[in-house]
Structures are given as C-alpha cells and as structure tokens.
Amino acid sequence: MTAELELEKFTDVVVSYVDDDGYPMSYSTTARKQNGKLVLEKPTYLKPKKQMTVLLNHITPLPTGGYTDRRYLMMKGEAEILQDRVVFTPRKSYGWDEKTKPFFQYCEENVPQAKSYLRKLSESVGREVKARLPTLQLLFRATRFPFLSATAAPVLIGVGSATYLGYFDFLLFILTIVGASLIHLGLNTANDYFDSKLGADEKNIQPTPFSGGSRIIQYGLLTSRQVATMSALFYAVALVIGLYLAFTRGLIPILTLMALGVFISYAYTAPPFKLAYRGVGEIAVGVGFGPVIVLGSHFVQTQQFTAEAVLASIPIGIFIALILFINEIPDSPYDAAAGKRTLVTRLNKAQVLNIYKILLGIAYALIVASVLLQLASPTALIALITIPRAVKAVKLVDQTYGNPYLMIPALASNIQVATFTGFLHAAGFFAWAVIQLFAR
C-alpha cells in the first residue's frame, strides 16, 4: 500500500491513537517510506498504541483567503513502537484528491451515505426527515428549466419565418411559446419519472449538470408520484392552450402537430414505446423540436404551411437532436446497463464524432441553402457566426470523450452552439421584417 504512496504530495502528517483516557490523541510528525512501511518520528514522551491511524493532508492556502488543491489520505494499521519513532504498516486506507476526483463526483458517490443517514435519523426521531430545497429552486431543478431554451429557439424560428412573410400576432406568439414550453416541461419530468422507474437514472453514478436527469427523485427531494403529477399537470395545461389554438387557428393541422408533439415527448421514455431505449430517441427529438414546433408555431401565425418554415425547421431540429446526442455520451455506460440503447451506446467514438460533424455541416449548409433559394432572408446568415464555436465544441467533445466530469465544458459548449444558432436564425428572420418595415 505504501509503495505507490507519494508522501511529497502532502504537507502535514498526523498520527492518531486512543489515549489511556479513551479520547483520541494526535500529534504532527514527519514520515518516510522504508521497506513498504512508514517510519514516523515520535516524541519520546508520547506513548502511542499499536493500533493507530495516520492522516496525510494537504491544502494550498489562497492569498485572497480560503484554500484550494485539497487532498488527504487516512490510513489505519498497526505500528511497532520504538523509542523515537514508530514503524507503521497500513492495512486499509481512504482518501480524496480533488485533482483526480472532482468535488461534484465525490459528492455524487456519497449520495447513498446521505440517504442512509436520513433513513436512520427518520427512524430515531419517529418522523420522516428529508432533504429540502426552496420551492422555486426545487421547481427549477425538477423541470430542468434552463433547457427550455431548446423550445424557445424553434418557436422563435417558426414565428420569425411567419414574420418574414408578413404575419405576426403577439398574443398567439405568447400562447404558442407557453404551450410548447409546458409540453417540454412535461417531457422533462416524464423523462425523470420513467428513467427513475426503469432504472437508468439510478444506475448513473456520474451525472453532470447536463446529463443523468434532474436527480430530484434520487436525492429524495420529490417522490416519483409527485414528479408524475407535476408532469401530468404540465401536459394538461399545454393541452388546454393547444385546444384553444386549434379551435381558433386550424383544427386538424394544429391538433395533428400537437398530438405528434405530445406523443413524441411522452413516448420518448414511457413504455411501451421507450423511443430513447430503442435508438430512435434522437430522431424523435429532432422531429419534435424541429418540424413539429417550428411548423406549429408558423401555422398558428399564418394558418398555412410554407416552404420557408419547412426549410427553417430542419437545422434547429438537427441542433436540438445533437444536444441530446452529445449529452448521451457521459450517460452511455449506465444507459447500456439499464438497457437504454441510445444511438451513442450503439456506436464507437469515431462514429459518434463523424455523425456529429456531418450533422453540424448539414445544419449550417441548410441555412445557407434556404437563403440561396430565397426561402429565408439574407439576414438569416447571421446564424453562421456560431461556426467557430461549433468547431471548438467538436474539439472539446473529442478531447474529453467518455469522461463525464471533464466533458462538462464540452456539453455546455454544444448546448450553446445549438441554442445560440437557433436564436440567431430566428433573429435573422425578425431583423429582415424590421428592415422591411423601415424600408417602406
């Protein structure tokens, strides 16, 4: 155990043992390795016991206050007590080094300990003791609220392409974005409910802020039943808004798109469809966040399906599908273990990266093609300014592939590319409409 020990990485060595009065006694000392054992200096007046514990500790104090670079190693074992030193043989050890195990991961690995503690505490006080979050923060986390940008972008593209053609109604726009967002929130919560029920989130011990679900059920912050109720509520309100839009703007087209959207969002993880478990979740999400939302938002404004909207819907569908596709990388070992055979679990790294690059290329090419075909305004080309960022995202994914915590910046970068490009694409349409307004 001592052979691989790097003593020089630690700045303090502490020896502890049970003193005669039954209290732990500790002293600070120096250590060196010798024949697979640790030789620790000892003041002659101290009488340590054979059973002892050695703690190696390090922090780097910061000039601004506080510290960083934390690592420690606790070793338990037996010692041979000599006059001015002890020769320590470690039997077992436990420790943490934040350079090799990020704090986020360290915390996640200890969730079972927290749950065990809460269970025992509940038993001893005779009431259920649960972890808590303030209501707004809890809702924010449970719904994965920031991901709503993935809905806002296609709605804006749908409405933007309608504005480009001369149609815009603010109230209809608000109803569309609220309705679509509620379906997305229903999807996120349904996904947590079913992934928890089917075991995918339980098996994932390396979640990141962008993958592995909200963890709200795993942390005991809400029950599965509460999450299911929340999901049903989101879908119900979305349905009311959808029905209003259908009856006022076009019954069959809107009901068809709405039914398709709700079906995709529900069937994504829910049995018996479990689209995500069958390797078609990415395509379903691409269709749902691309053509379904864009054409729906466009139709609500214009009461027609146009070639402009169809062409504008495909790049954003690809970008949103790529958010999911890349977010699946850190989850893939756990998804595979839970039988969730996402596209990434079926491919190797080179194949995943090739698909990523090709789809990014197609998405940007379609934006250019739509302008060349005069089915989008020249200002839509502003979306291309994210290309350097997309190149950087591909490099980051390549460099950190498979390491959940090192991948966090890559996942964030990929999400930024998708949402920024979507918003810029929409802004291009709106900008042209504004230019035309002033040109008249």
Binding site: Y27, Q51, N57, G66, Y67, N110, A114, L133
Partner: protein, 157 residues
C-alpha cells in the same frame, strides 16, 4: 503564558484541523475538517454534510473526540504553535436544512467565497443539508513554536 488564550487564537485562525473520533471497532478515524471557533460560546464547531455523515453516526455513539491543529501553512497566526484538543462532542441535527446557517459568519472568515457556493445550493442540494458538531474543550496540549521535542503545555477544564 495563557494556554487557553493561545489555543483560542489558533482555533480562530486555522484553515484546517484534523478531527479524530472512535469507531465501534475501537479504531480512530481522522478527517481534515474546517474548524469554526466561537470565542463567545467557548466552543469549537464543525459542520458536516449528510453526504459525509459516517463520522456523525460514530460520534453519536461515542462523543469523545480529538482535534489537532498543525501545519504552519494552515495556521494564520503570528507565532506558530501546534495544538491538540480533547473534547466532548454534541451533534445538532434537528434542522439540517438551515440550522447550520448561523455558522456562516465564522465560516466566511476562513473561506471568503463560501457565500457564492451557498447561493448555488441548487447545484448540490444534499451537500447543503448539514449537521453541526459542537465540541466542548476538556483538555488542551500546546506545543509552543511547534516544537514537539519538548512536552506540550497543558490545560484542563
């Protein structure tokens, strides 16, 4: 030399300490912990997330603890001394969610950026469900100038 006063100075200024407690197997476990000393209450406080709560379960069974303050770079006092404290611990776990928040004032002196972390409670909800360990000093050992070749100065409650 006022041993207790010197000890208070160390406890107030140390960035880290080594908390030792006994396990049911009779062995000692030692972990680095942030020490928060209240001069007003004459007690040493530590706070542990429920994620790392094994120590809490052991201390509840046997409240005899030891805390060592050592390492020159960890102790921001003018003159360096090493301190070992033997004490009796009491666990406060009635309000895991916010019962520890009164300690933030002491915590901030050691980690000035702590408020920023607390604001991001949402990111690590279980880390911020915390237990308080209150330690009443019973016996102090002070190695003046960190010199362990000489016997330590002692103080008993």
């Amino acid at each position: 030399m006022d041993i207790f006063n010197s000890a208070e100075d160390i406890m107030e200024n140390a960035l880290v300490s080594s908390l030792s407690y006994l396990t049911p197997a009779g062995t000692v476990s030692t972990h680095p912990m942030l020490p928060l000393y209240s001069r007003e209450r004459k007690k040493l406080y530590m706070t542990s997330s429920i994620l790392f709560s094994k120590k809490i379960e052991h201390i509840k069974k046997n409240p005899k603890v030891g805390v060592l303050f050592s390492g020159r770079q960890f102790i921001k006092t003018q003159n360096y001394s090493v301190l070992h404290l033997k004490g009796d611990a009491k666990i406060y776990e009635e309000n895991l969610h916010s019962g520890w928040e009164w300690l933030v004032e002491l915590w901030r002196k050691k980690e000035p950026y702590i408020d920023g972390f607390i604001r991001q409670r949402l990111a690590l909800p279980l880390f911020w469900e915390r237990v308080i360990i209150e330690i009443t000093p019973r016996e102090l050992y002070l190695w003046k100038d960190g010199d362990s070749s000489k016997e330590p100065l002692r103080w008993r409650a």
